[in-house]
Amino acid sequence: MRVGVTNLRVKYAGASELLFNDLTLHIEKGEKVLLLGPSGCGKSTLLQVLSGLIPAAVPVPMKVEEKMIPESTGYVFQDPDAQFCMPYVDEEMAFVLENRAIPRSEMKGLINTYLDKVGLHFDDPHVEIATLSQGMKQRLAIASVLSLEPDVLYLDEPTALLDPEGTKDVWETIKKIDDDQTMVIVEHKVDHVIDFVDRVVLFDDSGTILADSDPETILSFYKHKMKEFGIWYPGIWKEHEHGLKRETKNALSVMTIEDLKGFKGKKCLVELPEAVIHEGEWIVITGENGAGKSSLLLSIMQVLKTTGDVHVDGKALHSIKEAREKLAFVFQNPEFQFVTNSVYDELAYSMSEDVQNRVTTWLQNYELLNHQHQHPYQLSTGQKRKLSVGTALFGNQRILLLDEPTFGQDAKNTFKLLEYFEDLRSKGITIMMVTHDPNIVETYATREWIISKGRRVSDRNVNRGEEAVVHAVDS
């Protein structure tokens, strides 16, 4: 069995250039291939072509001299919520078995077998999918795809939204799948997969193949290319040269929080008894999926219903409107903060002076200039995230609240954003940022909060790179 395309060309409607220009890629049976490339180079698109979804299900204009698409394919998507069609776990698993016309009497047993394979254990699998955590949902997605017994398995950033624990679990799960399973993988968190794959295909930002070889060769001979195009590789954080300014400004408090509680309906999602936040601090908020990190930022921003006090510059915040004056905010889900119909307008929105100049510079800097007329929804995952962060940076707020601003980003953009935040920070801006990336904590944070089950369980000052000093712990 082989998957492949010869001389593939793809062009999105309205795009100015071809996405792939005569791309050829062949994959042998049993191979595990990792596609690596900068954000927006076409990895997701290529996976969809190789699995036959383009053009059968998604009408994107494409041309190919020769293609071999396997008959049965399993596809795990990045967004856990967009891949289930049934409300309950057992029903979702059964859906695949029904498609394969497995007799009803065997279904219950098979459902449990496949759920076991991915480490999901329920007494009774009749559990509502909506109640599962993101990581569990993603494992369910893998289980249902495995029950297809597919010729080829396609994985498109299956762990982008997961905490480190969940990421590890999911990859452990995948690694346990039979040895002769063919897999095509897209993943930015390379550390987890590089030892597992047999082959790495490296793309540049225009979707041309730079290199195609085994991981050792790629890592030893193409590192400079990966650096040049800003692609993740193991150990990149150690080599990351940051212009970190060590001296933190003399601590002037800018925000105080007292007895803050955030509610959804009657349920208290998160609480923070007290906190004093200073100018020039970079607080990184970590914790597992569903711990309440987003809820905390949303409470500070007065988006959730809250009790307690948040004071900024001595002024109490009561509504989103007041909070907006003082705090810039980036939501976890980028898609819901777009309010206009084009990338350009999105940045220009609510900007008043020197608009054209500032927007164009930003677009150029973050490599979105070619996409400026596109609708924000038509961007790749990483591009959407970049844009949504961009929209929050043009105000003159002194405090930034950022909810996972770097997920789905390639190395280049991650570092560019972090450097930019650092620059702002050194000018006295305060940053509060949710992330799942331990490297960011280690390198950039000046303070770390760990959230668990809706409470802050740890608050420590981080002396960047040096020995951390625990400074206060709430029980």
Binding site: R9, Y12, A57, P59, P61, K63, Y377, Q378
Partner: protein, 192 residues
């Protein structure tokens, strides 16, 4: 003829269910604006035809309007519409009306004008059902005429013009490129 793909069906049904919920909420609205039987309030009746037109303008394939309107009615029924199963029968007939107009233009024209016509046809469908269901032929003539004109006007305004502009706004978000075949220019660009 272009067969409906799974994604066409699913999208149609999602659009339909969204409107199905609006249909359900629209019941009290309608009952409030037509107090004591003056049929001027029937202008808002056009909302109950909108799913068919919107879905058809987006997907542009045979059968979509009928499916959408039927599905919207089923959705309305499933959330407990006060009109019960009758909405299903109404939905089918109204959907047929909408479908018929687009079929007359051989599924080639999707202008505001055609949309307005489809609104009229759906209104006609609903009136046919009313004859069987609500004894409307027993109304005083002037009242009956008022009913018919309000119904038709509502069909034109809401299910026709409004639906058209709604879909136009949706097109700007690029979502329609998911369901419509690519243009010849784009295919030509592949050969450069």
């Amino acid at each position: 003829m272009k067969r409906l793909k799974l994604s066409d069906i699913l999208i149609t049904i999602v659009i339909a269910l969204v409107f199905g919920i609006i249909y359900k909420l629209w019941g009290p609205v309608y009952n409030l604006v037509k107090p004591f039987g003056l049929h001027v309030g029937d202008i808002v009746y056009g909302m109950w035809f909108i799913a068919g037109t919107v879905a058809m303008l987006i997907l542009r394939k045979p059968g979509v309007a009928l499916l959408a309107e039927t599905a919207a009615a089923s959705g309305e029924f499933l959330v407990g519409s006060e009109y019960g199963l009758s909405v299903l029968l109404y939905g089918i007939v109204q959907g047929l009306g909408t479908e018929l107009v687009f079929a007359l233009f051989r599924y080639k024209r999707y202008t505001a004008f055609v949309a307005a016509l489809s609104g009229i046809a759906a209104a006609a469908g609903s009136l046919i059902m009313d004859v069987a269901y609500g004894y409307i032929l027993d109304l005083a003539l002037w009242n009956l005429l008022l009913l018919i004109s309000a119904r038709v006007l509502g069909g034109i305004l809401i299910a026709g013009i409004f639906a058209y502009f709604l879909v136009e706004a949706l097109e700007k978000t690029g979502v329609t490129s998911l369901v419509r075949p690519a243009s010849h220019e784009d295919f030509k660009a592949l050969d450069k």
